[in-house]
Symmetry: D2
Subunit: 251 residues, 4 copies
C-alpha cells in the first residue's frame, strides 16, 4: 500500500506533461527531475586525442613490428613490415593475433594494389579480416569490379552486402571501423545471443548492427559452433594487400 | 550473367564440412559456393575521400551560413557564424533544420568554452543534439565535472550513460558520429520499432545500438508519441558552445 | 539552469538506493515513485476467455467454411471442409487469405495423416504456413523422420531449425502460436527492419524472436524484396494435412 | 549421410530467380537446394501432450506442495496449499524458488480475489512474478481498476505497459506464458546483453520481446546490477492471490 503525503501548500501543483504521462504531483519539476538521475557507476575515462589511438586501445600494428601476430599455420607471422606498412607475403598463409577477443571496437586501414591487370572479381585485391577467427568482413578491390554483392568489400561475407559501396581506388588507403558483439553460447552450445556487426567503411556506415548468422561460409548456409574469445585473423588470399594502424578496444 | 561449365560425370563426391552441416553432394565445392552468391541489388556507390564529406551526405553546416537552419521559435536562425564556426547565441533559442530526417548517419563537431569558472554540473557547457526534435544526445563539458551519468556528455539523455567518458578538454573540438534508426509507428500510434542509436565520441564507441525508450525527458519515464521525419535540433542551453562540420546521410 | 528548492524540514532525507542510483532527495519515496508512472495511452481491452478466440481476433477458419480464403491460382479455394476440419485437396494448389496482414499473432492447429507408409523426409506430411506469402514456418511429420533440421516441423524454412522438436505423432492435432513482426522497407526498397518470428509449437518455445533473413528460399541465400501487407498462404505440398481453429490478431 | 546421384552431362542451365539473386548455374535446382540444408545438431525431442506439462519442464507447483519454494525471509515457504491451489498467506512475505534460472519459458496461472470492495488501483489484487528476483511482471486486478498503465496487470513494472489489457474478471483463473532472456554481463559488470521478455496473457501477446531496462524499480530509472541465475519470486503484496500450474523450461 502506498499513501501519498500531501506536500505543504507552499509548493504549487505541477502538471507532468511529458508525452503520454498525465498526473498531478505536488512537487516542483526540478525536484521531480532528480528521481530519474543515475549517478553510478561512473564511466571510465578514455583519452581520445585527435589522430592518436584511444588510451584504452591495444595496438595490433602501429608500424613497427608483428609482435601481436602469429602465423595461422604455427610459428611466427611471416608477412613483411616496411616503412610502417604491413603487407601480405603471398603464400605464407594467414596471420592471427596472439591474443583472443570477444566484444570489440576494431580500427584498421588497408590498401589494395594498383596493379590489378588480369585480376577480376574475387581475384582482385582479396583479403579479409576474420573476427574471432570466423566472422569475416571482406577486403576486396570493389571499384569497377563486379562480383556477388555479398562478397564485395565491406560485406559480411556471404551474409550481408554493404548498404553502399564506399570503396576508394586501388592504391589508396581505406579504413574499417568495426563494432563487433561476439556471440554468446549457453551450456549446451545453444546460441544465447548471435553476433552483431556495425561497420564504417571510410567513415560511411555500411553495416548497421547486422545480425551474423554463423561462421561466414564459402559453401552452405552459415551456422554457429561454440567457441571462446578467439583471435583476429588477416587473410593471405593470394593478393597484394597492405595494412597499417590496427588497434582494438575490448568493449 | 555467369555461366558455369557443365559438370562432367567424373566429379568426385565432396563432403560439406562447414560447421554443423553434414551431407555429401556430388558436385564440386566451387560450384556449390555459387548457390549462396547474391548479385543484386548492387549497392550504390558513395565517394568517401579522406577529410571530405561523403558524396551522398547533406551538409547542414559547412562553415558558411545557416541556410539549413531555422529558429525553433520561428523565423531565421539567430546563432552566429564566424571564421567557419557556428556558435550558440545565448537567449535566442534552439535552432532546427528546415529539413526533416528519419534513419540517418550524423557527423558533427562541437566545442565547449574554456571559460568554465563558476559553472558546474549541468550548467557547464550544456547543449545537445535532439534528433527528430526528440531524442537527445547530450553535449556537456564532462572533464572533471560530476553530474548524473545519464546526463553527461554522450549520454542519451536520462536513458543511457555512455559506455566510457571519451571527452576532450574544454576549448578542444570534439566529434560525434551517430547512427540513428528512427522509431516506426503503426496505424494506431503503436511502436512497431523503437529508435536505436550508436554513437562514437571522438572516435570511441560510447553507445552501441542503444534502444531508445521514447522522447528524452527531463522529468518522468520516457514514452513514445507518434511523429514523422522531424528536424534535428541544436540546443541553446544558456552556455557557450561552438559547432562545425555538420553533415547527415539519410540511410 | 536548474535550482532545487529545499523542501521543508518536516520531510526526512531519503537515500535512493535502487541499483546504481545514489543521491539524496528530500521528498518521500512514495511521492518520488509517482514520477515514473505512465497513465496514458490506456491499453485497449481484449476479452480472452478460456477456450475461445480473443475478442479482437479475426477467425480465418472456425470450422464452417473457406470464406476467408482463395486459391493461390485464382478463383475460390478448393480445399475440403468436413466435420469442422479443413483439409488439403491435393493437386488444387495452395490457398491464401483474401485479406493481407503485417504484424500479427497467429494461432493455428494442424494434423498430418497417420498413413505415412512409403513417405519419408520432406515427403511425409509436408505443408507450411507462409506469412505474408513469403516467410514459411514448416509443417511436416517430424516424428522419427530424419530430414535437414532447418526443414523439419517448426523450422523457419532453410533459415532457423527449431530450438527443440516438440512434434506430436501423426494423427494428433498440433498447434502453432506465432508472433510475426513484418519487415519494414524504406523508400528505396532498403530494409529498415527485418522480419522476426517467435513460435510456440504445442505450447513449447521453438523459435524465440528469430531474425528472418528474407523470403524463405528452397535454393540460395534468402534475400528481401519489398512488399506490403500480404496474405497468409497454406501449402498444398502433395500431402494429406488437416487444419482447424485458425485465427489472427493484427498487432 | 545423403548421397546424391551423379549429375549427367546433359543437365540444362537453370536460372536462379529467388528474390534478388541472379546467375546461371548449370546444375539442377534440387541439387542446388541441398547446399543450404543443415543436418546437425538435431534438436532435442520434447514430449508436449495436450493438457500436460512439456517433458523437459520443471514443475514449480503442480498442486501438491511447496517443495520447490522457500520464504524470501529465510526458512520454509509459509504460503498455503489447499485443493491444488497455492495462496498468498498475507504477512508471511514473498516466496522464492530454491533453484535459480537464466533463460526460461515460464507458465503460471493466477487468480485474484473476487472480494475487491474497498480496494482500488495498486491495492486491488496486487502480486507479481519477479524473474531472477528482479524483473517483475505485474499481477493485479485490472478489470475496471484505473492505475498507471506501466503498473497494470501484465506490465513489466514501471517499464512497459502491456500492448492490450487481456485481463479476466476477479475470481477467474488467468495465465501467463513468459519467454525470458536473462541479461548477460561482461567481466566488469557491463551489460553485454540486456534482458528481454515476451508475455502472453490469457493467450494474447501483451509484451513482444520487450527490452528490459534493468531491475524493475518502484522509484527512479531502472538500472542493471550484475547477478547470476537467480530464483523466481512471487510477491506477498498484502492481497489475496492464488496460483496453480507453475512450470518452467530452461532455454
Amino acid at each position: 500500500m502506498r499513501y501519498v503525503n500531501v506536500i505543504t501548500a507552499s509548493v504549487a501543483a505541477v502538471l507532468v506533461s511529458t508525452g503520454a504521462i498525465s498526473q498531478e504531483i505536488d512537487i516542483p519539476r526540478d525536484v521531480q527531475s532528480q528521481v530519474t538521475e543515475v549517478w553510478e557507476p561512473i564511466p571510465a575515462e578514455v583519452d581520445a586525442p585527435d589522430g592518436a589511438i584511444p588510451s584504452d586501445a591495444i595496438a595490433l600494428f602501429d608500424g613497427e613490428n608483428l609482435d601481436a601476430w602469429e602465423s595461422a599455420n604455427g610459428g611466427p607471422a611471416e608477412w613483411t613490415v616496411e616503412d610502417g606498412v604491413l603487407s601480405v607475403a603471398r603464400g605464407t598463409g594467414d596471420i592471427i593475433t596472439s591474443e583472443g577477443f570477444c566484444d570489440i571496437q576494431l580500427h584498421m586501414e588497408w590498401r589494395v594494389s594498383e596493379d590489378t591487370e588480369g585480376y577480376d572479381g574475387q581475384d582482385r585485391g582479396n583479403s579479409g579480416v576474420k573476427i574471432q577467427d570466423r566472422y569475416e568482413v571482406q577486403i576486396l578491390d570493389s571499384i569497377d569490379n563486379p562480383t556477388y554483392v555479398n562478397g564485395q568489400a565491406a560485406s559480411i561475407y556471404k551474409q550481408h552486402a554493404p548498404l553502399v559501396n564506399a570503396s576508394r581506388a586501388p592504391g589508396e588507403w581505406q579504413t574499417y571501423d568495426i563494432i563487433f558483439e561476439a556471440p554468446i553460447f549457453g551450456e549446451n552450445g545453444s546460441v544465447r545471443k548471435p553476433a552483431y556487426m556495425t561497420v564504417l567503411h571510410n567513415g560511411v556506415v555500411v553495416q548497421n548492427h547486422a545480425q551474423v548468422q554463423g561462421t561466414t561460409a564459402w559453401v552452405g548456409y552459415p551456422t554457429y559452433t561454440e567457441h571462446g574469445c578467439d583471435p583476429i585473423r588477416l587473410q593471405d588470399h593470394n593478393a597484394d594487400v597492405d595494412f597499417r594502424n590496427i588497434w582494438v578496444r575490448p568493449l
